[in-house]
């Protein structure tokens, strides 16, 4: 029995009422319109994988019996998780990816020395534009929604079938609309916004839904802040996070040489499951306590928490703007005794810019370790693993049990400003406690 993806013609009569996400899905499925719950088969613009998810995808691709990929330009493989290779097995996995990419002629293959953390690298290389559909075998693929793309995490089998066919099946999501107003205060950033939101709605508060960000507050957010917010949409269980496209988005896309953007805007009468208003000026520095990203607290809601390690980096907060904030806090100061601070610029370009502008000097002179780009400690891979009973403040995105090492270690998620301040004081702190 062949499965057919039949457009539901009854619903198609109603041409409007689509969310931004639904419009992108409809366009890529060759449909006039779609409604929440509908199953569709859509063309994708980019298929992404890394060094731990690609090997499984390659196994499945071979099982499929495909001899070539659907489009050599529309696949990216970024060796970022256990690279520079942490052990023999990791080296074997990366080698398998390298050979496959070579055999298939995959253009966007990023190896040690060229690579960066995938979700910081792809925007920088101009590989995603507004209106695209991106599927990635990594849950934080939702990051590119900041650029007005429909972008979602999938598994390795979806990656394999995507590489072979250039298509993926989707169940059309309904959406939660976030209307932003006001602007962020000093030392408050996108990370605090998204931790606040996840704290409010829970780790399954947006399960299967789109998180659509709109309102006058959007234009007050930098592209970097939007990337951070969209990056953590998955931590609320969302299918995707997506921002309205504005001048800032278009300027960014032009600056990185991305393809011509296709801008979609939600219909005026689009239907949302709920609408949440966020006043950016009321957001405070927020920390997610172990062991769920929804365990959000603001200063004043907890007593002193002494820490052993600080990690500043990752696809969530490893961009230049993040390092700049951390350097502003740490300049001329010293990392506290008994604290290990690790700074990981997310791409080679960011690393170089940070070097040329004196940021790395600030970190090193403060007593922090500065690393080549890698996902490393974020997922408990390498480059900063925690021992039993240790605590880390990290600008990463997840703090489940054992996330950064021993099952009895703890991870506290925070912004670069809070992470940097905490490195100086040795306990979870705000920059105001450190800056004179």
């Amino acid at each position: 029995m062949k499965i057919k993806f039949i457009p539901i013609t009854e619903r198609n009569r109603n041409m409007s009422k689509m969310t931004m996400t639904q419009k992108i899905l409809a366009a890529h499925a060759g449909l006039e319109s779609v409604t929440a719950g509908q199953l569709i088969l859509a063309n994708v613009d980019m298929v992404l994988g890394n060094d731990i998810t690609s090997p499984v995808a390659i196994n499945e691709f071979e099982r499929l019996g495909s001899k070539s990929v659907f489009d050599k330009k529309k696949i990216s493989m970024v060796m970022d998780h256990f690279v520079p290779n942490k052990d023999i097995k990791a080296a074997e996995q990366t080698k398998r990816c390298r050979c496959f990419a070579g055999d298939m002629g995959i253009e966007n293959f990023y190896d040690c020395g060229e690579m960066g953390v995938e979700h910081a690298l792809l925007p920088e290389k101009g590989l995603v534009t507004s209106g695209d559909i991106v599927i990635g075998a990594d849950s934080h693929t939702c990051t590119y929604g900041a650029l007005g793309a429909f972008s979602t995490g999938v598994g390795s089998t979806d990656m394999a079938c995507g590489m072979a066919t250039g298509k993926a099946w989707f169940k059309v999501p309904s959406a939660i609309r976030f209307v932003l107003k006001g602007k962020l205060n000093k030392w408050v950033s996108g990370k605090d916004v998204i931790l606040h939101i996840i704290g409010k709605i829970g780790v399954d508060g947006a399960l299967y839904k789109s998180m659509e960000f709109t309102g006058e507050g959007v234009r007050e957010l930098s592209v970097s802040d939007r990337l951070c917010i969209a990056n953590m949409a998955i931590e609320a269980g969302a299918k995707n996070g997506i921002f309205e496209v504005d001048e800032k988005t278009l300027e960014f896309l032009e600056s990185v040489g991305a393809k011509k953007p296709v801008v979609y805007k939600a219909d005026e009468d689009a239907e949302y499951e709920r609408t949440i208003e966020i006043d950016l000026s009321k957001i405070e520095p927020t920390v997610a306590f172990p062991h769920l990203p929804e365990n959000a607290k603001t200063f004043g809601e907890f007593d002193d928490v002494k820490i052993d390690q600080v990690v500043i980096g990752s696809c969530t907060n490893g961009r230049y703007e993040d390092l700049e904030i951390a350097a502003e806090v740490m300049k001329g100061k010293k990392v506290a005794d008994n604290v290990r601070a690790i700074v990981i610029p997310a791409t080679q370009k960011i690393y170089l810019d940070a070097m040329e502008n004196g940021l790395l000097k600030i970190f090193i002179e403060a007593g922090a370790a500065v690393s080549t780009p890698t996902c490393g400690p974020c997922l408990g891979g390498h480059m900063g693993i925690l021992a039993k009973g240790e605590r880390a403040v990290a600008t990463t995105n997840r703090n489940f049990v054992g996330r950064m090492g021993h099952p009895e270690s703890e991870v506290y998620l925070a912004s670069p400003a809070v992470a940097a301040a905490s490195a100086i004081t040795g306990k979870i702190s705000r920059p105001e406690e450190v800056i004179d």
Binding site: M1, L39, T53, V56, R63, Q93, V154, T157, D204, G237
Partner: protein, 163 residues
């Protein structure tokens, strides 16, 4: 298609880091992954699980990473079915794609206890707790998804010409 076995029960938000920690992701070998399944939440799991056993979870089962290694480890360990109040979306998709049967049934997930003998008939969607005698009806999957699971996964379904 029917499955039956003993229930192994967990709580809410069972995440992919506890299902298969990242330190084991430098392999894609199914048996190796299965040998570390649930390690950071239940060291005993790999010793007690028997082929056919049924994993029971709360809400948001499988949240976190997209790592397909998670449902692979569960399936290879011998688990024949996962019943949960709700599934995280990437895990849900991955489980279907690799042919690991999953079902959302809030009542069953709440009332089934660790160690109960449970069976499920996929055609009728009925879950039967043989220990308590109670029956639960679950929402059947759309036929296209059933077809993928019955084929043993997405790749096989594509090879069989179902797409």
């Amino acid at each position: 298609m029917k499955v039956n076995g003993n229930a192994i029960k967990y709580g809410d938000n069972v995440d992919t880091d506890v299902i298969i920690p990242a330190r084991y992701l430098n392999t894609s070998d199914k048996k190796e992954l299965a040998s570390h399944c649930m390690e950071d939440i239940d060291k005993d799991f790999v010793n007690k699980v028997k082929k056919g056993d049924i994993m029971v979870g709360g809400k948001n089962f499988g949240c976190g990473s997209s790592r397909e290694h998670a449902p692979i480890a569960i399936k290879e360990s011998g688990i024949s079915l996962v019943i949960a109040k709700s599934f995280a979306r990437i895990f849900y998709r991955n489980a279907i794609n690799i042919g690991l049967p999953i079902v959302e049934c809030e009542e069953a997930a709440t009332e089934i206890n660790d160690g109960d003998k449970v069976e499920m008939d996929f055609n009728s969607g009925v879950i039967r707790n043989l220990t308590t005698g109670k029956e639960y009806k679950s929402e059947p999957f759309p036929s296209f998804i059933q077809s993928i699971i019955e084929s043993g996964g997405l790749v096989q379904a594509v090879k069989d010409g179902k797409f």
